[in-house]
């Protein structure tokens, strides 16, 4: 089956991102396809490579990046939500005159159309959040 995942909450405050990660891993382990993981609302905060959690805690951002690398996942961060919350890649930095980037490996910034497309292309779009 073809799945897409929507993550609507940021890391650490809310368990949604953890559960989404574990679900995505389980889906892949069962041999299903993951068409896209889309990050929206505060979910975009899962894509900052500047997080430094305590060493005995899970690193939610790195964990997503690693999963993306292992499975060639398409992880997309909503551009409008990212702009509001200061998630920046090279292109956004230049476009908006910022002095830094913070997008973690494996993520890309794109539009909400990518979420709608994920809904159209996938057999299941599974939403994680409140």
């Amino acid at each position: 089956m073809k799945f897409s995942i929507l993550v609507n909450e940021g890391p650490y405050t809310h368990q949604a991102s953890d559960t989404a990660y574990q679900f995505t891993k389980a889906v892949l382990a069962k041999g299903h396809e993951v068409f896209r993981v889309f990050f929206y609302h505060d979910g975009v905060n899962n894509a900052t490579r500047l997080t430094t959690p305590p060493q005995d805690d899970r690193n939610i951002v790195n964990r997503w990046s690693k999963l993306a690398e292992e499975h060639n996942l398409d992880m997309v961060v909503c551009v409008a939500a990212a702009q509001r919350r200061g998630i920046v890649d090279e292109g956004e930095m230049k476009r908006n005159g910022k002095d830094a980037t913070n997008l973690a490996a494996g993520f890309r910034i794109s539009g909400l159309g990518q979420l709608v497309e994920a809904g159209i292309q996938s057999d299941r779009l599974v939403v994680f959040g409140d």
């Binding site: 929507l6 609302h41 979420l115 809904g119 939403v127 959040g129």
Partner: protein, 120 residues
């Protein structure tokens, strides 16, 4: 392009969190993709439809006007949960848009018929 039935379930008050506004942004994009879009309002989400948002005092942009634009995007399936209205002392006269009111059970059936349900 494949057309699917997308239902956007709105359960939160219009201000206080950004969910309602960011939900509306996806609705407009889904409509632009010519999908079969409906919106369901339940729990505190029914307050999103209430007439006369006045947000000056909280310095947040009021998005009541954007609801008015839904029709231009052919989004006309606006469903409201009767129990949620009643629990909050509201009737359809309090709402800014023409809506279809369903019981909670009927709304559940409508959800079941969807291809994609996005809950915000």
């Amino acid at each position: 392009m494949t057309t699917k039935q997308f239902m956007f379930v709105n359960r939160k008050a219009p201000y206080g969190t950004i969910y309602a506004w960011e939900s509306l942004e996806v609705v407009l994009i889904a409509a632009a993709f010519e999908q079969d879009v409906s919106m369901a309002f339940l729990d505190d989400g029914v307050f999103q439809l209430k007439k006369g948002h006045q947000t000056k005092g909280i310095e947040v942009k009021a998005f009541e006007k954007t609801f008015g634009a839904l029709e231009d995007y052919d989004v006309t399936k606006i469903y409201v949960d009767q129990e949620s209205l009643t629990e909050r002392g509201l009737t359809t006269d309090d709402l800014a848009l023409p809506v279809e009111v369903f019981s909670r059970a009927e709304l559940g059936k409508l959800m079941e018929a969807q291809d994609v349900v996005l809950s915000f």
